[in-house]
Symmetry: C2
Subunit: 136 residues, 2 copies
């Protein structure tokens, strides 16, 4: 279906159920979801969603992932207080990745860094970019 | 190792080989890579890399993915001319995702849209955000 949909003009609409039944998920029913701070453009983290967490996120406007390590729903910030409010949810051309524009409260990373992407690689070494923020 | 590395201070360095031997790849040896336009912050696409394509990208500064559909290396722009020049490569806290800051020539998407993320979902419908750009 994505091959047919890609020529649609801006402003065209598709039914959410039809759309979700065509997205590409892995063998565990999961699709990668990138969280980006909506106003600064900072990419905060990448995690995984299933259909139920996508629907919950769209209806509650609070981001819910599927935790692969804990094998359970992960309502971001439920224990840490560092919630992600959903501003917009997008999907890509072939329906195998999601982009969440969010308003991130505090750090997104479990290390207390704002973004999870704090390692920077070059041809020989990887440098740590940011310190853990001890206070908040 | 990522558990030990996460407390390192900003400016610390790790050996690239040690780092790459600890990243988390799926059963096909692949890790998701997000491409973001380095100056505007726009998230352009998500694709997959393996260790060889990571090393090639770091050394040539032209982004090389692994194409899952074609089962071959995918030097972005090789046929379309829409190359991605690598500005920086980052990895996340648990080593299971990459963020590529790039300078994207022309559209990133095979549909000739600048970004692949042109579907926007709400609770009931999915809207198409951008038209295909016929000229370039």
């Amino acid at each position: 279906m994505f091959k047919q949909w890609e020529i649609l003009s801006a402003g065209s609409s598709l039914d959410l159920d039809a759309f979700l039944s065509n997205i590409i998920v892995n063998e565990d029913g999961l699709i990668p979801a990138i969280a980006q701070q909506h106003d600064t453009g900072e990419v905060l983290m990448m995690a995984w969603m299933n259909e139920k967490s996508i629907r919950e996120t769209l209806s509650t406007k609070q981001v819910c992932y599927w935790s692969r390590s804990r094998q359970t729903y992960w309502r971001k910030g439920e224990s840490s207080g560092h919630q992600q409010k959903l501003i917009a949810m997008r999907a890509d051309c072939d329906g195998d990745a999601l982009l969440l524009l969010v308003d991130q409260k505090g750090p997104a990373c479990h290390t207390n860094r704002r973004s999870c992407f704090f390692y920077e690689a070059n041809e020989t070494v990887v440098s740590v970019l940011n310190d853990v923020d001890s206070g908040l």
